[in-house]
């Protein structure tokens, strides 16, 4: 399938999922209080920026955004020997 055909197939799904996100953010905003200081709101905002970017691998970049950092020195911090 070419890009136009994929867009034809996916457009309504994309529209529906964007509406779900927009409605969920509205729901949060309508609720009592303001979670603006919650770090997860910043992550959501950054993820939306990734969705709107034109670079490929958006899904992978969002996965990494929501991931804990990997520390190469984890074994020495855990005092584990290589190969137990």
């Amino acid at each position: 399938m070419n890009a136009q055909e994929i867009l034809d197939q996916e457009f309504l799904t994309i529209r529906s999922k964007l509406l779900d996100i927009a409605a969920a953010l509205d729901r949060i905003q309508r609720g009592d209080g303001d979670p603006a200081d919650d770090a997860r709101m910043e992550l959501v905002s950054e993820a939306i920026d990734i969705v709107g970017s034109t670079q490929l691998h958006r899904a992978e970049r969002i996965q990494l955004l929501f991931s804990r950092q990997y520390d190469q020195a984890w074994k020495s911090k855990f005092q584990l020997n290589s190969g137990a």
Binding site: L64, F66, S67, R68, W74, L80, G83
Partner: protein, 272 residues
């Protein structure tokens, strides 16, 4: 199309699910040992569970013409209890000759802790000692990337364990390449909210290819869909993929991986 579900927890499912899976084309499945939803109080609890996996479920599956295989271990969540884990590790060898046991699994990490890593390594050593294949659980959500890298680090410490005898499960967009590039098999789990959707799994197949890649439902006691593999088949067909490619993902690949286990034999239904 007939298929294999290489990761499904049938102890949590009803007999009606077996009937539905058979109607959908499932001809074989493998069930890794996992967390029961609560922490078990003793190694004897695991002995009973291993009997359920090696005696009860194969008989239940056989009523519907499905071959049931399994993997044995103490799961990553309960591995936080090191003493209990070591008691369970001692039990496992007595079950390895049971007719449906494929290897050690699903071992792995849950919250990426020191204790989980210690017990992971001890499972790997058990697998090497008994020449068993290994099925690996990777953590969920924000812990997945870090945990998968830690698992790959530990596997690299054991060059005597052939990468081709290891399947690293629950891979997603940010972990699949590292697993495949290291020579291991990779599994994608079609599971609502916390893992892959059928659409994203097909995207991953299109991006990384079909070599050493499997898909599973991981149907269990949580919100999950035991018929998720047929959903992937439909999504691949919707996108116009060849039937031979679909078959490779849902039948040939898991069969090839399982065939390394001495207890696995499954004739191709096409040749019956």
């Amino acid at each position: 199309m007939y298929y294999i579900d290489p990761h499904i927890h049938m102890v949590s499912r009803t007999t009606d699910d077996y009937a539905t899976l058979a109607r959908m084309g499932c001809v074989a499945m493998s069930e890794p040992a996992f967390w029961a939803g609560y922490d078990r109080g003793s190694a004897d609890g695991f002995r009973d569970y291993f009997r359920q996996l090696t005696e009860v479920e194969p008989a239940r599956a056989a009523q519907f013409g499905i071959r049931h295989f399994c993997w044995l271990c103490i799961n990553a969540k309960e591995a936080e209890n090191v003493q209990l884990s070591r008691d369970v590790l001692k039990l496992i060898p007595e079950f390895l000759d049971c007719a449906n046991v494929l290897g050690i699994g699903e071992i792995g990490l849950n919250k990426n802790t020191r204790n989980e890593a210690i017990i992971f390594q001890e499972h790997v050593e058990l697998a090497i000692e008994h020449q068993q294949a290994v099925l690996i659980h990777t953590p969920h959500l924000e812990d997945k990337h870090q945990g998968t890298k830690m698992i790959l680090d530990m596997l690299a410490d054991h060059p005597e364990l052939a990468p081709g005898s290891v399947l690293v499960d629950h891979v997603e967009e940010h972990t699949v390449k590292a697993v495949l590039d290291a020579g291991y098999w990779a599994g994608m789990t079609l599971y609502p909210v916390t893992k892959c959707t059928p659409s994203r799994a097909v995207d991953i197949i299109e991006m990384v290819g079909a070599e050493r890649l499997c898909v599973n439902s991981a149907g269990d006691w949580g919100p999950s869909k035991p018929t998720a593999v047929p959903d992937l088949i439909m999504e691949m067909r919707r996108r116009g993929h060849r039937e031979s490619l679909i078959r490779k993902i849902v039948f040939d690949n898991p069969r090839e991986f399982f065939q390394q286990s001495k207890n696995f034999d499954l004739a191709d239904p096409a040749n019956r």
